[in-house]
């Protein structure tokens, strides 16, 4: 990737309040503590990556921000408004859009139709008008189709416009999901492992798309990602979670050299084996579903295998 390190992004400092602020978030599933006192801020127009070993609580954070999970304690402030819990629909209305770890596209619909569903909150006609196909329905439909076609173009999905999404390759499905989120014209975009399961060229396309979204549309992005190279390359801000706690928070360079982060990822050689089996046991972000475990551990394997052996200095050199 030849894009310059993103720490020199255009995010203005200080003057504006953060777009997103988590304070003291805590969440437990029965006996398992998923998230334990997590607080961090996300500035407008920045790309913030949330990283950490499996089971660190990353997806839970995303789910809390998008209203799918309700935290046991703590609050989330979005665009100045603080609340402890919002319903998913309300978060969408506020301008938060997201993608999912196990793709959540609508497989029975075409690519264009999927993108169109992203516009649902803006749609200005009632069901009756649509059933009778009155003028107002036609106008709204035309407007939103035009918007969806622009997203289609932006993400270079035109060849697949009318293809049923269920038939498309995995990487394309992920891009469609991104498109659907974009169609909502969100202020904040939450991406849950957007590169999972992709090969190198697909990752390149997706990274470029994410950067384009941030640079050209100004959308603030929070993403969960395991591929360290991608993270270091495109993020302005990195938050590191481990066992539900924040162990690192800063620019990619700062985080790279943080001893706590290194310990979380590398451990001593004795601890590395222990930590791996521990995080597999407390793997509460992944269901007891073999296929999901297999899918999730593949990128994690690449991160884990990239991490233990090299020293911090060589990680810095390889990016």
């Amino acid at each position: 990737m030849s894009t310059p390190s993103a720490s020199a992004s255009a995010a203005p400092q200080g003057a504006h309040p953060p777009l997103l602020e988590l304070q003291g978030i805590r969440l437990a599933f029965k006996a398992v503590r998923a998230v334990e006192d997590v607080s961090f801020k996300v500035r407008r127009h920045e790309i913030c990556a949330v990283i950490g070993p499996n089971g660190a609580g990353k997806s839970s954070i995303l789910n809390i921000v998008s209203g799918v999970y309700r935290p046991d304690a703590g609050s989330v402030a979005f665009d100045g408004e603080r609340r402890s819990h919002m319903l998913p629909r309300q978060t969408a209305q506020q301008g938060i859009a997201r993608t999912f770890q196990n793709i959540a596209v609508f497989k029975g619909m075409s690519v264009l139709e999927n993108l169109l569903t992203g516009t649902t909150l803006r749609f200005e006609s009632s069901w009756l008008e649509q059933l009778l196909w009155l003028g107002r329905a036609k106008g709204a439909e035309r407007r939103e189709r035009e918007h969806a076609e622009r997203v289609l173009e932006f993400l270079e999905l035109q060849p697949y416009r009318d293809a049923p999404v269920g038939r498309l390759a995995y990487g394309l499905q992920k891009r469609v999901e991104l498109g659907r989120a974009l169609a909502a014209a969100p202020q904040l975009l939450l991406l849950d492992e957007p590169m999972a399961g992709m090969n190198a060229s697909e990752k390149q396309s997706m990274s470029e798309a994410i950067l384009d979204v941030n640079r050209q549309l100004g959308t603030t992005i929070v993403l969960i990602e395991h591929d360290m190279r991608v993270v270091m390359d495109i993020s302005d801000h990195v938050v590191v979670l481990d066992h539900g706690r924040v162990v690192g928070d800063g620019t990619p360079d700062e985080v790279r050299q943080n001893p706590d982060v290194l310990r979380a990822y590398l451990g001593s050689r004795r601890q590395a084996a222990q930590t791996q089996s521990q995080s597999a046991a407390s793997d509460i972000t992944d269901p007891p579903d073999a296929s999901a475990i297999l899918a999730a551990s593949a990128p994690a394997a690449s991160a884990a295998s990239a991490a233990p052996a090299p020293s911090p200095a060589s990680i810095a050199a390889s990016t």
Binding site: R89, A97, T117, T120
Partner: protein, 356 residues
């Protein structure tokens, strides 16, 4: 080329989304309508009208209704016959007790009553998903059957439980002849189908399909899931209600609660499975199939075995055949006859070139 699309490009976003975008498709639809409204009345005999075409249209309409709910919105229902009953009995009682109400309005009111019943039946659907909806819709079906059997008021306190519909008069003209009934049925079905065709390309249809494909994701992007599901129940039941009114008025003429039993709900479900779930055309194909196959079977039977075949045996083989077809379609072609037809059409589009 048998089927050339050359030069037929859309320059307007909306135009590109039309169901019958190609000139060929529009001509086909026109041809079908001309045949249905002009040729059939000219040439068909009463048997064809009353025993085949009328029930075909009505069952297609009911299938269309169920398809909206189950095929588009993904809410499985085995209560369609119950909603048909609500439509029929409501129309009957409106005409009986409110003088001067036009026939078509009575049908519409039947649809509205059925829509209300549908919404009530659909209320549990927020917490109850997928297969469990069979339980709630089955409950609705049984409850409705019980209401119309138990409360004789609906049947005008008739001792036998049978009701006879009044003479059909539409817009001042008598419509009680086979031809009249046929045209009345056809008009209603065509009109409602035309409206239904607006659904797949509209936000309404997309919301239904989103809820069908993954309702948690639909909720997260802002679709109001419960409202969407209830709307599906309402509109679908409206269609079934009108179909029920038609069934009672233009086909049966005389009916009792047994016309709306669970077996009819299954029949309609089979129509959409065989015809193609999520396909409006499929409802028509399935209905044609459902009606024509038994006839074909008894003709084939008497041709093979000579003389007339035992009706009971036909019923049996029909059961086995339909069961086999259901399983076969579910395994091989879940898109039903509609998908098969579409594939054939796609091949025709590029003929004489071969498949992709």
């Amino acid at each position: 080329m048998l089927y050339s699309e050359a030069g037929q490009l859309s320059t307007d976003y909306l135009h590109g989304a039309r169901r019958f975008r190609l000139r060929q498709e529009r001509l086909e639809v026109l041809a079908v309508l001309v045949i249905a409204f002009v040729a059939v009345p000219a040439f068909a005999d009463d048997y064809w009208l009353t025993a085949i075409l009328i029930p075909f249209s009505i069952l297609a309409l009911a299938g269309l209704g169920l398809n909206l709910l189950t095929g588009f919105a993904g809410q499985l229902s085995v209560g369609s016959a119950g909603f048909m009953a609500v439509g029929a009995y409501t129309a009957y009682n409106v005409l009986l007790r409110l003088p001067g109400v036009p026939l078509l309005l009575a049908f519409a009111l039947g649809g509205v009553a059925a829509a209300i019943a549908g919404v009530l039946a659909g209320l549990p659907s927020l917490r109850i998903k997928g297969f469990y909806l069979v339980v709630t819709t089955l409950a609705a079906q049984f409850f409705i059957e019980w209401v119309f059997t138990r409360f004789r008021w609906f049947s005008n306190d008739n001792a036998s439980g049978l009701v006879s519909v009044p003479r059909l008069v539409v817009l001042g003209r008598d419509a009680s002849s086979p031809l009249g009934r046929y045209l009345l049925t056809l008009s209603v079905v065509v009109a409602l189908t035309a409206l239904a065709l607006n659904i797949p390309k509209s936000e309404l249809g997309r919301r239904w399909m989103a809820v069908r494909d993954m309702d948690t994701a639909a909720a997260v992007i802002g679709i109001p899931v419960l409202r969407t599901k209830l709307l599906a129940f309402a509109i679908s039941s409206f269609y079934c209600g009108v179909a029920g009114a038609l069934w009672g008025f233009t086909y049966l003429g005389t009916f009792d609660p047994r016309a709306w039993e669970l077996s009819r709900s299954f029949q309609i479900l089979f129509i959409i499975i065989i015809g193609g779930m999520g396909s409006i055309m499929g409802s028509f194909l399935g209905s044609a199939f459902m009606l024509l196959v038994p006839i074909a079977m008894s003709h084939a039977g008497s041709a093979l075995l000579g003389g007339s075949v035992d009706q009971g045996a036909i019923e049996n083989y029909k059961k086995i055949l339909f069961g086999l077809l259901i399983v076969a379609f579910l395994i091989r072609e879940p898109g039903g006859l509609a998908r098969l037809l579409r594939r054939a059409r796609d091949r025709a589009r590029i003929w004489p070139l071969r498949s992709w």
